[in-house]
């Protein structure tokens, strides 16, 4: 079986390019806090008031350009597996970033968000970058979770924090950008602990000679 290595060679390599780093980002939070909507707003610039979540939101990619580097997010949605507390460990594997979402109009979802943060600290890579998003900030009139309370919690736990609105787009790009800035851009992130496959681990694809690195494709 002749190995076809041309797949890798065809990639333009010589020209000075900005480095592209790929990161796995997982979304967590109770049902109906707007996880999928945040991603849809970020990736597609869209918002649908009553749209049921679709398959697409379960696995989307979007890039963020920083000064010298392009960060490509591979965004994983829970696909509903969180509803009966049945998220699989593979969901957290190798995740370098997470957004834990709650609904500012629902105190309960904030309590649950804290549990998700704990779960991440238990299951995910120790170096994971976690952002807390208080979503539905457009519904401030019905606010049940105070900004200061969430901010204090985030500070205590070393989390990025913003109040967001998928509906108005407020802070949506910003929170992804903040995460992109905080992610280590050296070699494949993560490493050690429960996450970060690191060099040598590979995805399978059609090509006969897939590239090895999970970062910087």
């Amino acid at each position: 079986m002749a190995t076809n290595r041309s797949g890798a060679a065809q990639r333009p390599n010589g020209a000075p390019q900005t480095k592209v780093c790929q990161f796995k980002l997982v979304l967590l939070g109770e049902s109906a806090v707007g996880k999928s909507s945040l991603v849809l707003r970020f990736v597609k610039g869209q918002f649908h008031e009553y749209q049921e979540s679709t398959i697409g939101a379960a696995f989307l990619t979007q890039t963020v350009c920083l000064d010298d580097i392009t960060v490509k997010f591979e965004i994983w949605d829970t696909a509903g597996q969180e509803r009966y507390h049945s998220l699989a460990p593979m969901y957290y594997r190798g995740a370098q970033a997470a957004i834990v979402v709650y609904d500012i109009t629902n105190q309960d979802t904030f309590g649950r968000a804290k549990n998700w943060v704990k779960e991440l600290q238990r299951q995910a890579s120790p170096s994971i970058v976690i952002a807390l998003a208080g979503n539905k900030s457009d519904l401030a009139a019905k606010r049940m979770v105070e900004f200061e309370e969430a901010q204090a919690y985030a500070d205590e736990n070393g989390l990025l924090f913003m109040e967001t609105s998928a509906k108005t787009a407020m802070n949506v790009n910003d929170i992804f950008l903040a995460i992109a800035n905080k992610l280590p851009k050296s070699e494949s992130g993560g490493g050690g602990g429960g996450g970060g496959a690191g060099a040598g681990a590979r995805r399978l694809n059609d090509g006969d000679a897939p590239r090895a690195s999970s970062c910087c494709k």
Binding site: A2, A58, A79, Y84, N135, A197, D208
Partner: protein
């Protein structure tokens, strides 16, 4: 908590083992409404991987519950190290010894307490399996686009036990020519034979070997004039056989091995990051993405089938005093109430397995190795033993350790069947870990026996209409059997439908309002913005 669980589904799958998970994904993918349950708090069933703490719980549970010993039994765990490290003295001693002689840090002295504190860094498989690079599971993962959920590492070398020591097996053309273990004449001989085996199609193969039907592969290799060393490589290491292996089976195994060479890495094999137990979860995720509902910790108490109008069957399940209805029930053998299993006991040879945790690799190499070792039988009665050694880079264990899996067909019991092989490659004495010897020290071991899900009578058996019982793990190296059983069951549930067509990539998904997503894109998920009602 899960009382708002909907009650009516087209397909209910109970158990998250490999076969069940593939069926769940396949049904959900083509638009069936799927509920997937598991009685335990984790994914994988008999195919699960555990961290060290989870494994301890698993051992305790099985040993204290005879009902759970139908599938896994004879569990025997043993430590070869102290409970606590006598820290002060040991550390100082270690430093004293090494300060002049070597730059290498002293070998870590592991204690049971270290395992406990680093329990999360272990991912230990109850059903470790490799994937042939062109085997049916790899092809399915790629064609269904489920491959994007998992990462793999290439097995870096294939080893065998020859002349009472470990020997790397030259398995690619380059290897064959590079190796010094075989002469030039032998190399030509070997290449000629391997090339012809790869070249045969099914028909040619049957033709070429029609006179060999009742003869062994070994007789064929001898007839071809291969030297004893070459016969050893081909028969034991490449074909994974024994002296009794029938000729055609040997040829087919060789072909499978050779066909998978050169796709990824130097050997034909892949190992999933974090262990084989990740793979059922990947299929579960696809099922969820297409709307499948997931609920762990949900044991079922009773299954009843009743015929409704026009001979159509409905299956009802009692679970936590809730009644769930479906057209088709797919259930793992480990979750299955006795009355649903076919009454005749499956005549099959069970499997003997062992897991060892060691403080080094069985054969040092430059980079961290990932090894498949195939032991020929040491005695007449024994079967061949398959050994997989995985290290920290696979996410299986903390740095400095290796997890080694042994698998063979059962003769007596796991410990008697496998201990003689373990002693060949490990130091089982439990002595001082800082002493360097030619063999790694075994720090911990677990022997157990398992029913062979590949045995006779455990096909896509169904005790009742609309009920499909999935077999447990088989003794095969790859997941061939699980994939084919899952496909069989799927075809019975969804005749005429495509088995796991390719899921779209993110770039291909359109979100415009006026686009109809089609049934397979619809999800019953209230995870949208707004106050979606709970069912």
């Amino acid at each position: 908590m899960d009382d708002d669980l909907p009650t009516d589904f087209q397909v209910i799958v109970v158990g998250t083992g490999m076969v069940e998970s593939i069926v769940a994904a396949a049904c959900s993918r083509i638009g069936k409404n799927v509920l997937h349950l598991d009685s335990s708090d984790h994914y994988g069933g008999l195919w699960a991987s555990y961290n060290f703490d989870g494994l301890q719980k698993f051992i305790k549970e099985v040993n204290s519950d005879p009902k759970r010993q139908q599938q896994v039994y004879n569990l025997s765990e043993k430590w070869y190290i102290e409970k606590e490290t006598p820290q002060e003295e040991k550390k100082e001693e270690g430093q004293d010894k090494t300060e002049d002689s070597k730059a290498e840090p002293p070998k870590k002295v592991w204690s049971q307490a270290n395992f406990t504190s680093e329990y999360r860094k272990f991912n230990i498989d109850m059903t470790p399996k490799l994937l042939f690079s062109r085997g049916p599971l790899v092809e399915l993962l790629i064609s269904s686009n489920i491959a994007r959920y998992a990462e793999f590492r290439c097995v870096t070398r294939v080893l065998t036990w020859l002349n009472d020591r470990l020997m790397p097996v030259p398995c690619s053309r380059a290897d064959v020519f590079a190796t010094e273990a075989v002469s030039i004449v032998e190399k030509r001989m070997l290449m000629k034979m391997l090339t012809s085996i790869v070249g045969y199609n099914e028909e040619e193969m049957n033709n070429e070997f029609k006179d060999w039907n009742d003869k062994t592969f070994k007789e064929y290799l001898t007839h071809k004039g291969l030297t004893p060393n070459l016969i050893h490589y081909v028969l034991y290491a490449i074909a994974g056989g024994t002296d009794k292996m029938p000729c055609l089976e040997g040829v087919k195994e060789c072909k499978k091995f050779l066909m998978s060479l050169g796709r990824y890495g130097n050997t034909p094999f892949l190992w999933p990051m974090y262990g084989s137990g990740e793979l059922p979860q990947c299929f579960c995720r696809l099922c969820a993405v297409f709307g499948g509902v997931y609920c762990l910790n949900r044991p079922i108490d009773k299954v009843e089938t009743k015929t409704v109008d026009e001979g159509k069957t409905m299956v009802t399940i009692e679970s936590k005093s809730k009644t769930l209805n479906c057209d088709h029930l797919v259930i793992g053998i480990n979750e299955c109430p006795k009355e649903l299993l076919s009454p005749e006991p499956a005549e099959s040879c069970d499997i003997s397995k062992a897991i060892f945790i060691t403080n080094g690799t069985i054969l040092p190499s430059e980079k961290e190795p990932l090894s498949l070792l195939r032991f020929p039988p040491l005695t007449e009665e024994d079967n061949a033993v398959t050994v997989l050694e995985v290290g920290p880079a696979t996410g299986s264990c903390p740095k400095g350790l290796f997890v080694v899996y042994f698998i063979t067909n059962k003769v007596k019991d796991a410990e008697s069947d496998l201990m003689p092989y373990a002693e060949k490659i490990f130091d089982m004495s439990g002595g001082d870990q800082t002493v360097t010897s030619d063999k790694p020290k075994c720090l911990w071991s677990l022997f157990y026996n398992a029913a062979d899900g590949g045995g006779a009578g455990s096909g896509a058996a169904s005790g009742a209409d609309g009920v499909f019982v999935c077999a447990g793990p088989d003794s095969g190296l790859d997941f061939d059997r699980a994939v084919s059983q899952a496909e069989e069951i799927f075809k019975q549930i969804c005749p005429g439908e495509e088995f796991l067509p390719r899921a779209p990539d993110p770039e291909e998904i359109v979100f415009e309002d006026d686009v109809t997503h089609g049934p397979e894109f619809r999800r019953e998920d209230d995870d949208a913005d707004g106050d979606a009602p709970k069912e």
